[in-house]
């Protein structure tokens, strides 16, 4: 099998110390990560903030050494053969502020092209072509300090593709982009991978829709561990037997999700309080379990305002694996 990315028992531990007097404590950022990404795949890494996605990307892009295990990119070890990995990769992070504000968009991109050995004539042509694709060609001679956050991110994305890498790492690339720009980028990314079977792309995101739409396979990561790795369809298929309902109800008056989970047939209940109403997301073992939920609500004089049955999403897969929604994990709520 021709692997673009391979990790085996990959781990990374950080030593954290608050003040100089405090004893250093260990933070496990990654533990026993085993991944195999085939050449030509558009692979997603999905997880909440602090899950270890960026740490993994840093290791794969030769910027950080693992504490245990190994990683290979384009067939080369990221530590022992870093000089062979680097010509074949590139990375774009969301919200990055690379380059120099006094240089124009074209000059910044040209500069980075020089670091990869791309001749100036070729670089300038590629810059023009790529800027057209992201609709930034009219700002080619604008100083990058004069760009908005979203436009600057578009420039960063062009920087990633400019060097024609074999493996491209996109770390939350649509951060800061508006809906239309995000759509353009996603479309371009899909086309870029499809255009050449030698190209591989690893995308990290915490936008489920993005992972669902784009990726051939997705690894769900939380607290440094990979919990599942499969195509979005297969991951969701695991929940197909569950019935997923979304209810809008009047305020729950202190009734918590665990009250619903005690009912027979209710696998998982999530609750979100809104202004004047609440949203209940229920994963039921079977449709019949809905009756007991309705009974509980009506017995406490809680009105049902809206009821929808929906297909499982990757968010539901995450909840099933972790026991909390991504938002709850990020906010540290018990859920």
């Amino acid at each position: 099998m021709d692997l673009a990315i391979q990790t085996k028992d990959l781990g990374r531990v950080y030593k954290i110390r608050g003040s100089k007097k405090e004893k250093a404590r260990e933070l496990i950022a990654l533990k026993d990560v085993n991944l195999e990404v085939k050449r030509g795949e558009l692979f997603g890494l999905l997880g909440p903030n602090g899950a270890g996605k960026t740490t993994l990307i840093k290791i794969l892009t030769t910027l950080l050494a693992p504490s245990s295990g190994f990683a290979k990119v384009a067939g080369f070890d990221v530590i022992q053969e870093a000089e062979k990995v680097r010509p074949r990769i590139n990375m774009v992070s969301g919200g990055e502020s690379s380059g120099y504000g006094l240089l124009t968009v074209r000059e910044n991109l040209w500069m980075f092209a020089q670091f990869y050995g791309i001749p100036s004539k070729v670089a300038n042509q590629r810059i023009s072509d790529l800027l057209k694709i992201v609709h930034l060609e009219d700002r080619i001679n604008t100083k990058s300090s004069d760009l908005s956050t979203g436009l600057r991110q578009k420039m960063n994305i062009v920087r990633g593709f400019l060097t024609d890498p074999d493996v491209l790492f996109l770390d939350e690339p649509t951060l800061g982009l508006d809906v239309e720009a995000s759509r353009d980028v996603r479309k371009f990314v899909e086309g870029w991978v499809a255009e050449n079977p030698q190209r591989t792309l690893l995308l990290t995101t915490h936008y489920m829709v993005e992972a669902d739409e784009l990726c051939d396979r997705v690894a769900i990561i939380n607290a440094g561990r990979v919990l599942a790795c499969d195509s979005p369809t297969n991951l969701k298929r695991q929940l197909q037997q569950d019935a997923i309902y979304r209810m809008e109800v009047s305020p729950l008056n202190g009734l918590g999700p665990d009250s619903f989970e005690q009912l027979k047939g209710v696998n998982k209940a999530l609750h979100e309080a809104k202004d004047g109403f609440s949203i209940l997301e229920l994963m039921l073992a079977e449709d019949d379990a809905l009756g007991s939920v309705v009974n509980m609500l009506t017995s406490r004089d809680i009105h049902i305002l809206n009821l929808q049955k929906r297909e499982p999403t990757l968010e539901d897969v995450f909840v099933t694996l972790v026991g909390k929604s991504m938002m709850e994990v990020e906010s540290g709520d018990g859920g």
Partner: protein
């Protein structure tokens, strides 16, 4: 947005206690930034090495030519002037450099701007920590000179009221110069290293710090006479070692009272310049969108 709308009038600001709050918060922040970059041992080494190396350059230059004659009054003249000149770089840098630091490095300037603080007061407060560390450097330099280089400083002979008054006026004057420089920096990018030090280095020539103004060509001396630093250093010398100051005729015709009067007048002039410059540069920076400009340069 007009500059007049961006800064509350002094009366309004004072009424609300904004000035005290701004000064206190800025001084605390400046202290945090300056004081926790390393462990105490390295900090002590840094605090000692830098001012002593600077003073030692002059000491070596002097002793190479004069054969180490530290008893001549010119030596304490040079040494004291150089020691107190540390304040010039420290305060100028402390007040002005934080504009670039906050804008480019910490990316915080825009948040400070939208907070209910008085920006000039904020800049002055940020310079407080540099003043404190500058004081340490001045103390170390003078102590070294007294202990090892025969600088004839006798604490019992010091005119303390004159010293305290001139030090206070001098620091106020330097703060206003620093504010002027900080205002100008609102309009330039991070391509100058320690702008405050560069300006201080240039003023070194004209302020009579390390040689009497009479040494300068006649056409350059008037510059020295309009810089308040010249009068400040003369007052400090008179307060600390009166006999040294008396040996040089440059400002001998002025009494202490006259020098204080000149220093106060020039400080007022520079205060006006500082606030006028700030209003202009602040307005220009807002017009051109420089407050949150990040050049990574």
């Amino acid at each position: 947005m007009q500059a007049a709308q961006s800064v509350p009038t002094p009366a309004v600001a004072a009424e609300r206690g904004i000035i005290q709050r701004t000064l206190r918060s800025a001084a605390w922040l400046g202290w945090q930034i300056e004081s926790n970059w390393t462990d105490p041992l390295i900090f002590i080494i840094y605090s000692v090495i830098k001012p002593l190396a600077s003073a030692s350059i002059l000491v070596v230059m002097y002793s190479v030519i004069t054969g180490g004659n530290f008893d001549s009054p010119i030596f304490p003249y040079i040494y004291l002037g150089n020691a107190f000149y540390i304040y010039v770089a420290a305060v100028l840098n402390g007040v002005s450099w934080c504009v670039i630091e906050d804008r480019e490095q910490y990316r915080m300037l825009k948040y400070i701007y939208i907070a209910p603080v008085v920006i000039p007061v904020y800049l002055l407060g940020r310079g407080f920590a540099k003043f404190v560390f500058g004081s340490l450097a001045v103390f170390i330099t003078i102590s070294f000179g007294v202990l090892f280089l025969n600088v004839p400083l006798d604490l019992a002979q010091v005119d303390w009221p004159l010293f305290v008054l001139s030090l206070f006026l001098g620091l106020l004057m330097l703060a206003m110069m620093g504010l002027t420089l900080g205002s100008v920096i609102l309009l330039i990018v991070n391509n100058v290293y320690f702008v405050g030090e560069a300006v201080a280095g240039a003023l070194f020539l004209f302020s009579g710090a390390i040689f009497p103004l009479d040494v300068l060509p006649a056409w350059l001396r008037p510059i020295g006479y309009i810089i308040p630093i010249t009068y400040w250093l003369e007052l400090v010398r008179r307060a600390l070692i009166g006999s040294v100051a008396e040996s040089f005729q440059t400002l001998a015709g002025f009494s202490n009272g006259q020098l204080i009067g000149i220093l106060v007048s020039l400080t007022i002039v520079f205060t006006i310049i500082a606030f006028v410059t700030f209003r202009y540069c602040d307005h220009q920076a807002r017009e051109k969108g420089y407050i949150d400009r990040v050049t990574n340069f």
